[in-house]
């Protein structure tokens, strides 16, 4: 699947030699392939139609960048437009002037609301907040128990009133949170179909009663064509503030992201990437675009071809590397560069031959995230001068980043090793040195 679009586009353009400008004819040909790729990724049919029309217009007459083929050029235009449409990438939640901040979750059955409620609580606590979970799904058998078990495992309070009225539960929870000095309430609600009027009315009632500061629509990343109708109905009834896309740890291309974004205009704020409670991630429009197109490689290739801006940065880095001045701050920069290019998995797939071997194997992107979280939890001084990281500092960093001290130790060992290696490599080229920290 990954290679398909690239290959198909290349063959579409094979006859076309040289560079120059994109013409109407060759854009039309390539749009057929793009359209197919989007449909295969489950982007809604109507959304695809509009999208392709827009891109076609934009692409017309554009100069083909030096050192790329017209096929790659078209992909770049499509990719950029996708990124633009998919929007921003902040994990932000509006907070109340006077606490508690009320966050309400809503969505179809089985989309991952309860799991995300716990993930969000965990995430906010790491940021120093004091969340409380509220069990307002009184319909699904054992739904309350499920939230309680998750809350217990995190040691985060869960408020419930058994199988009573969800509106009342939500309302009472607000004052309970105040009494317990919780600054954030996360309200888990029952799954419901967008066409179920009575159940949709219930959500509206809850909303009107407690006036949440943030309403998040939780959607399954594997959703097909119906994503549009569901999202439309939920946004019309609730006017939610953001979207959570779950189960993105699988191989779904995630076209629903584009569909939902296109019909609601609301940002995607989080992605669920596993069943565990720390498996939540920021939404990266550029990664998502590559994923929807089913290809990380060509896009990155194109980016590299025109990456003159980042070159400056790279040169500086290389100098630092040579002098072994490379510190954790630089390392974090490098990690962020990698993340820009896509997931670790898609990055690995760019290496010829690896793609096939990788079939059926999942690569742990969590590793990258952990490493970044660890570095983020350090002070600037610590990043510049890792030597000062004694036991108690490491302990603080581990708890701040939600990792274990062993993880911090491991990272530090590997970092020292890498610096040593760099010293030995003085004078040699850094090209092809590969990724540090066993990340690749």
């Amino acid at each position: 699947m990954l290679e398909d679009l690239t290959q198909r586009l290349e063959s579409t353009f094979r006859k076309l030699r040289g560079y120059g400008k994109l013409s109407e004819k060759n854009i039309e040909d390539s749009m057929r392939e793009i359209r197919r790729a989007l449909l295969e990724a489950d982007v809604n049919y109507t959304v695809v139609k509009d999208f392709v029309a827009t891109v076609q217009e934009k692409a017309l007459g554009q100069e083909v960048l030096q050192s790329v083929t017209p096929g790659q050029m078209v992909v770049k235009i499509v990719h950029d437009e996708l990124v633009r449409l998919l929007g921003s990438s902040a994990m932000q939640i509006r907070t109340a002037g006077i606490p508690p901040t009320i966050v309400m979750l809503a969505g179809l059955q089985g989309s991952g609301k309860t799991t995300f409620a716990a993930k969000l609580a965990n995430f906010l606590r790491k940021r120093g907040q004091k969340p409380m979970l509220v069990a307002a799904d009184v319909y699904r058998p054992a739904a309350i128990e499920q939230l309680k078990v998750l809350g217990r495992s995190l040691n985060i309070p869960v408020y419930d009133e058994g199988l009573s009225d969800p509106v009342k539960i939500a309302f009472n929870a607000v004052s309970v949170a105040r009494q317990q000095f919780c600054d954030t309430i996360i309200l888990d609600t029952a799954g419901r179909l967008h066409i179920d009027q009575a159940m949709m009315d219930e959500l509206v009632k809850i909303k009107n009663r407690i006036r949440p500061h943030e309403i998040l629509f939780v959607a399954d990343g594997m959703t097909g064509q119906d994503a549009v109708n569901t999202a439309k109905e939920f946004v019309q009834r609730l006017n939610f503030d953001g979207v959570v896309l779950t189960k993105m740890d699988g191989d779904a291309r995630g076209g629903a992201a584009l569909s939902i974004r296109a019909v609601t205009g609301k940002p995607i704020k989080f992605m669920g990437i596993g069943e565990k409670l720390d498996e939540v991630e920021q939404f990266y429009p550029d990664r998502m675009a590559s994923r929807i197109l089913g290809m990380g490689d060509v896009v990155t290739l194109v980016e590299k071809a025109q990456a003159t801006i980042d070159e400056e940065k790279a040169k500086k880095l290389e100098q630092k590397l040579r002098k072994a001045e490379f510190d954790l701050e630089d390392f974090r920069d490098q990690l962020q560069q990698i993340k820009k290019m896509g997931s670790l998995e898609s990055l690995l797939k760019m290496i010829p031959g690896v793609s096939r071997q990788l079939k059926g194997v999942t690569v742990d992107d969590g590793q990258l995230i952990r490493v970044e979280a660890i570095i983020n939890s350090m002070t600037t001084e610590e990043r510049h001068n890792p030597k000062i990281l004694n036991g108690s500092r490491r302990k603080r960093i581990a708890s701040g980043s939600g990792t274990r001290v062993q993880d911090v130790n491991q990272l530090m060992n590997q970092f020292q090793q890498m610096r040593k290696m760099m010293k030995q490599m003085k004078g040699k080229s850094f090209k092809g040195m590969g990724m540090p920290f066993g990340l690749a």
Binding site: E40, P141, A142, M222, T223, G224, Q225, A256, E275, V361
Partner: protein
Amino acid sequence: MAFGKTKFGLQKTREGVFSKITRLVSGRKKVDENLLDELEEIFISGDVGVDTTLYLLDKIRIRIRKEKFNNSEELNAIIKDEVSRLMIAPREKEVEAKPYVILVVGVNGTGKTTSIAKLAYHYKNQGKQVLLAAADTFRAAAIEQLSIWGERIGCPVIKHQPLSDPGAVVFDALTAARARQADYLIIDTAGRLHTKVNLMTELNKIRKVIESRMEGAPHEVVLVLDAGNGQNAISQAKEFVKAAEVDSIFLTKLDGTARGGVVLSVKRELGIPVKYIGLGEQKEDMELFDPKEFVEGLFPEP
């Protein structure tokens, strides 16, 4: 009432994807690319998927060229025939076995546990003895969820502690099913994404435990697919077939969507038929799926 609900559910699918076809085709004397484009839109919007849609359109195109039709009914018949060919499988006779062991698998949140409740209720209503096994020991409160259903329906549930070995639960359940002379044993498993190698290996092990404990079992492996899912369902089906040898599909949440067309692709690519459909959250919201009747329903005689 069960009957009303069922009719409502199927009616939705009919009105959704396929009645559009009838409407599109009616009154047409000529088939042009426009009509085929619209047909394509209907299929793809129904989550039939690009490959299978193109396959169907090719077939239809060829038939139209060869068979020259005179009115829209004939065109309708051609389309119906091609869709039927994809959908209809010879009904396999269920093997006779006691206990008849059903293993239920699928990705997270598709509706496995609820579907098991529906199956149990269905067999209970036929006067059968049904035993349930809570082999989802992973998801928080999954055991409680199945236990509540067991209580509501009146089926005993074999269970262990949370996070215990699902293989051991299955082992005990098989022993209990024999000892109690149950007619059906239905095994719930944890949801797992088909891309997670270790979890799929675990599932394969569960299957092996059943095989080694009881000759001929599991008699039926049911893959639960969410009708709201798109093309990823094909990928799911492929991997579950590899790990657990799927026999049939339980297509859930058809009360919410007029789509679920991906089952056409699953049938075409993997040969696995839909056998049950889920039409709601209650125990009676299930129907045995009859593809023939279904297709007949999709293309009502004018």
